[in-house]
Amino acid sequence: MTTIQEFAGYPPTWCPGCGNWPIGQAIKKALVDLGYSPDKVVIVFGVGCSGNMNDFVNAYAIHSLHGRALPNAIGVKLANHRLPVIAIVGDGDCYGEGGNHFLHACRGNHDITVLVHDNSVYGLTTGQSAPTSPKGFKSKSTPQGMIEIPINPLALALTQGATFVAQAFSGDLIHLIEIIKLAIRHRGFSLVNILQPCITFNKVNTYEYYFQRTYKLSLDHTKDDYRLALKKCLENNEEKYPLGIIYQVEKPTFHDQLPQFSDDVPLIEKEKFKDLDRLINLFQ
């Protein structure tokens, strides 16, 4: 049995009261509850306040480039599909800089868990607008107000093929832990969009804001109903935020569908290919 202490790295450097604190706690608690130890899990961090968790959680990890955590995570999974692979990223990181990777990772149903810290702002670069910022949002980079409408990550993931789409709120730790655990347990691409106030640079999407506008999906919410899920995902557009697993179905993962893994032996453990003669003869 592992303990939270085993996963605890350096003391975090987040602002007091930042939503990253409970998310960090929830991730560690979820890993402990699932029986993992730091030597049996791979985490890929993006770059941003969320990615800074790299130093605060012990694991085999990559602190990637901004936006590129998902392809790194996919590569790790392809090399060793027995290891659980988690990407810890931010909204600007995953939906902006890495947006293309995000939608293609959904399409592939790669068996990775993507935990997005969605604070609707760029924190680490001190307060510019994000792809998730509300229309009209005034920030250092949009002093006249944001012109674009915010991205809807849930609907994007759902429509591009993600097999697990969930939303959680950093203000509800117990619920967040449960959702993260279920996301990691899910076989296939899982997204948890974690609503998180940035107390320093986002004066709009505050704790108060989310307390008033989030609600938990009822216990009898049908998780495999695509149309219902889409309806729920689109509620984000109306600033009404469902919390919980909006959509979940079982489908073959990317690596399940590769004939190379029909023997279930991870790439890293396979025997070296020996029949070079046949390939050489192709050129005769």
Binding site: I62, L70, N72, I74, A79, N80
Partner: protein, 578 residues
Amino acid sequence: MATLSVKIGGEAGFGIMTTGLLFSKVAARSGYHIVDYIEYPSLIRGGHNAYEITFSDQPITALKKQVDFLVCLNEDTFNKQRHLLHSESAVIFDGDEFNFEAPFIKVKVPFKKIIDELKGKVVMKNTIALGALLALVGGNLVILDDLIREQFLKKGEKVIFFNQSFAHAGFNFVKENYSHLIKDYLKERESKEAQLVLSGNDSFSLAAVAADCRLYASYPMTPSSSVLSTLASWQSETKMIVRHAEDEISVINTALGASFAGVRSAVGTSGGGFSLMVESISFAGVAEIPIVIFLASRPGPATGMPTWTEQGDLLFACFAGHGEFPKIVLAPGDQEEMLELTLKAFDLTDYYQTPVIVLSDMYLSEGHRSLRKKKVEEILFQYHVNRGKLNLNGTTSLPSSLPRNFLRYQVTDDGISERLIPGTSGFFYQANSYEHLEDGHTTEEAKPRKDQVDKRNRKWITYLARDFFLPKFYGSQEAEIVFVSWGANKGTILEAQRLLRDKGLTTGFYHFTHLYPLDREKVRQLFSSNKRYILVENNSWAQFGKLLAMETGVIVEEKILRYDGRPIEVGDIFGFFS
């Protein structure tokens, strides 16, 4: 026999590439040496494709410019290629389609009529033409039959016979109507060794498999694309994961993820895709994640001339990536060196835990050479994987009861730290794109920063002492004129040297393969003040000349440069002296 050349031209989409390669293979199986190359525009149908093959019973290294046998699948071919013909050249064409008044030997083969008689499709013109060409040069039809059989094996006997019948028709037509022109240039040689016909991309693909590369990621981009399709076609056998990702940024980051997790990984691209990868190359440098990057150049800037050739990315390859980190750039000069240097690249990237670029260009990547099969087997089978300080069996230091932080970036004398496969019990570590401490944690402190920079830089010192190769020298050590070049110009320069020697001019030639970094002292010693050095490069900036000056202080004033999208020709070098 003399060295001869054939050129097969026609509209894009009519199987020119397949036909040309079949001729190269017939020649190689008959015991002849070949060099081939294809010119084609960046489109799928229409436009002009031309496949040229130079063959000889003696070893050859370059294309012959003049065309001895021209196969015209349309009139356009004749008009575009006629300036390469001489009075003894034979032209195979359909006299019902067009005619010409010129002093060349006409071999009229009624392609259209034969197609109608055999109820074939227009695209079978090329098979008739190939049969006709083969008859004219005295080739063995059985060998072509074998090749057609191998090509259509999966489609069954009927398809095989059907396709063979077109080759036979062309062959027999020439036998019956032009017997007086038939020579025995391609007569099957009695003492022949088994040969392979390999393009540079084929060589890279074979060597990647032999090197135990287990993940190859790529986004299609000419002229690297055939590596992607070749490795993909083998994956059910080799078990390699071949991933065509959404863009080149995903390509390299997938490969880096897999490499971090412990499998040998590579990516392939051309200049534009390479540009997208550059930030991630820097990431690989600081995080010390091995990666082989196959960069097959074409003329830039931007989309440039996609299906043509240039050595315009050398300096970009050497300096790609922000910040300072070691990188190794290797450039094979031909298909054989591509085998050797690709194998070496996988070892070097594992050993030095830093990016290694294998630099090619369209001419090398898509052109073919015949190689002795024994030689290829020798290179591939004698190779043994060396993964350097990757500890596959845990680590020498025993784990404590609780997993602890592994010193992934431990400061060492040679600059290289031990690497563990993630999942190894008792430890954990992070590969960090930020500057970091020995244990991988992020740092902004002055001393550990400097220690890590010094550590990474020491990899180059180790490399120069352990793995750097000086250029190969060809020709006479006494020669006053010495060519300096790299990459695919090699074969052309060797041929030019031979021709110049026949004219009484002996020359030397330094062929560089280990382009970056260069060993300042060792390279300087190669150059003496009383010789005449001439750079030969397929670009307009003399990029290797600049690199040489920067890295070693050696300045080469005289230059032969070509940058019109065509490879350096023997005439470019020969003409320099007249």
